[in-house]
């Protein structure tokens, strides 16, 4: 943008004042962006450390003088939140690994090997990313019932793997397309078979892209709600989103606002850490998955 570079060259008096006005506007916009993005979460963080009396005070207490850890103690000591975290982590990591294992070779084939019908496959993959899970839920429910997979991690791992395969294919394919072809050609000249070449030469170079994709699939799996709600009913096997959502429903007369806030903070923490560490990769992966595909 023309306003992208803040002034470096000398300007006339009137110009200067208009620039500083513009500058104030931009700074306001930046501050508003930060407030918009953080305020609801920070409010939940604050709530999680408030005493019950302060939580239910009218008018609202914005600057509490007392802080407590009782809500965190409650979710870990009186409720099995460590368990829920493990369930979410296990399901998300397993399906991420499976998804990379299945999706990466397919992405490579679609990027490099000329196959008949690859445009159709790509179109299907693109359209599938747009399907909401409710379209799958009835058919999957029947399968889960017929195979007795209810309350089994597989009932989540299989759909999570599948729902992330399209994104994996799109992101990894755009990565492979950017790799110089000479590398593979010279490997073939050196007598490597396609398989050997994939394993020994391509795979090591692919690790950064795999990390990017893996982060996206991990986030999507950790956050999934509908299948987790439907296929897992045993308390000890629930994942974080369902466990937190049902915290509000368990006691009809007294909603545990504090515990809910603490649980939300705990359940979002791994994702916030991921974003803080991998912001660039996430942005890169999302844009190459959605735009270039």
């Amino acid at each position: 943008m023309s306003t992208a570079q803040l002034p470096a060259e000398p300007r006339t008096q009137t110009d200067k004042s208009s620039i500083s006005w513009r500058r104030i506007l931009w700074i306001t916009a930046i501050v508003l962006t930060v407030i918009f993005s953080l305020a609801p979460i920070l409010w939940q963080v604050l709530t999680s450390f408030k005493t019950n009396a302060d939580i239910e005070a009218v008018p609202t207490v914005y600057l509490p003088t007392r802080f407590t850890l009782q809500h965190y103690i409650e979710i870990f000591a009186r409720r099995p939140f460590a368990n829920y975290m493990f369930n979410s982590g296990f399901v998300a990591v397993t399906s991420t690994l499976l998804c990379l294992l299945l999706g990466t070779p397919a992405a490579y084939a679609l990027a490099r090997l000329r196959l008949p019908g690859e445009r159709i496959i790509l179109a299907i993959v693109l359209v599938v990313t747009l399907f909401p899970y409710i379209l799958l839920f009835l058919g999957l429910l029947e399968i889960v019932r017929a195979t007795g997979l209810a309350n089994n991690y597989l009932a989540l791992i299989i759909p999570y793997t599948a729902m992330n395969i399209p994104l994996t294919i799109l992101v990894m394919r755009s990565f492979f397309q950017q790799l110089p072809r000479d590398l593979e050609d010279s490997a073939k000249v050196d007598g490597y078979s396609t398989w050997k070449m994939l394993l020994h030469i391509l795979l090591p170079m692919t690790i950064p892209a795999l990390v990017t994709t893996g982060i996206l699939t991990f986030i999507a799996s950790w956050n999934e709600f509908l299948f987790a709600l439907t296929f897992i009913t045993r308390e000890s096997m629930k994942t974080i989103p369902v466990a937190v959502a049902q915290l509000s429903g368990t006691t009809v007369f007294e909603i545990p606002y504090g515990a809910q806030a603490a649980a939300t903070v705990v359940g979002t923490l791994p994702l916030v850490v991921l974003v803080l560490l991998f912001q660039r990769r996430i942005v890169q992966g999302l844009t190459s998955g959605a735009v270039k595909g």
């Binding site: 962006t33 909401p132 379209l135 956050n223 939300t264």
Partner: protein, 301 residues
């Protein structure tokens, strides 16, 4: 000789692709195909959960089903309002994130946090913010003197819809902003400089350069957001459960209730089919415009 190499390459290609396609077929194609089949049967408590062929009865019932039309209307209101708000806000945030300023990396990081968080947890957060007794929204409005008594946000039809729309806009605007930002970064600065030398105001530059060049990204973001908002489930299920009195019940919530609460599998399947067909129609339309736009832009270059 060359054909055998080609053939071998093809065979390897299929071996690499087929496992992924099988999983997609199992989790996507089969359930949807199965819903088409099951929608021709009545399978509910009335038939003791046994499928009884009933032709297009389920679809006939749908036409008469006021609740179904209400959910379609709710879904459209939700989808269109969130889409419009997210595009406007997302564009604003993308423009901010595209500026050169100290700490831009940090602000970008902060701006994508909402996108990464679990919707179900965000739903409880916003339900707490909109809480009728202790919610911070009511407190702020009371302090500002805008209202005299607290509003029961999630307990009244219009405020409940407004609440879920605001929560969804907060959650997904960052996704739109990320996509638009990628588009903004690909627009050359020279264009703007030449334009401003010609005496164009920033607003004119925005309308005459930014918007047209950003059209592909705007369309793609709209397409993704349309599909996701149209199938919205977790946010509304947790915040209002579709209530009060069905005021926020979207198609997904209705399908879920039909299957899980009323155990009406045949009718649920028919609802899935109609949702699927509507979605595919819109996607096809959008894809058509997108390809037209793409050929138009590449044709120019």
């Amino acid at each position: 000789m060359t054909t055998t190499i080609r053939e071998r390459e093809r065979r390897t290609g299929w071996m690499l692709i087929i496992p992924a396609m099988l999983v997609l077929a199992f989790v996507y194609a089969y359930p949807i195909a199965r819903s088409f089949w099951l929608s021709l049967f009545t399978e509910n408590l009335g038939t003791q959960l046994q499928p009884v062929f009933s032709g297009l009865n389920n679809y006939g019932r749908m036409i008469q089903d006021g609740r179904f039309w209400q959910t379609i209307a709710n879904t459209m209101v939700f989808t269109i309002s969130t889409l419009v708000l997210e595009l406007i806000l997302g564009m604003g945030i993308a423009l901010v994130l595209n500026q050169a300023f100290k700490g831009r990396g940090a602000v970008r990081t902060i701006a994508i946090i909402p996108w990464a968080l679990p919707t179900a947890l965000i739903a409880t957060t916003w339900a707490w913010i909109f809480n009728d007794q202790f919610g911070v929204v009511n407190d702020i409005l009371l302090r500002l003197g805008i209202i005299d008594t607290g509003i029961n946000w999630l307990g009244n039809p219009a405020p409940a819809m407004l609440s879920v729309i605001i929560a969804d806009v907060w959650k997904t605007t960052s996704f739109v902003a990320i996509l638009l930002l990628a588009g903004l970064q690909s627009i050359s600065n020279d264009l703007y400089e030449a334009h401003s030398i010609d005496g164009a105001s920033p607003w004119q530059s925005f309308r005459q350069i930014t918007l047209p060049l950003l059209m592909p990204q705007i369309l793609i973001a709209s397409l993704f957001r349309f599909a996701q908002a149209f199938g919205i489930f977790d946010l509304i299920q947790v915040m209002t459960g579709g209530g009060p009195g069905g005021a926020t019940e979207t198609v997904s919530i209705y399908i879920y209730a039909t299957v899980m609460r009323y155990l009406d599998f045949g009718y649920g399947a028919a609802l899935v089919v109609v949702t699927f067909v509507l979605l595919v129609a819109v996607v096809a339309l959008a894809a058509f415009f997108l390809s037209k736009l793409r050929t138009a832009t590449t044709g120019d270059a």
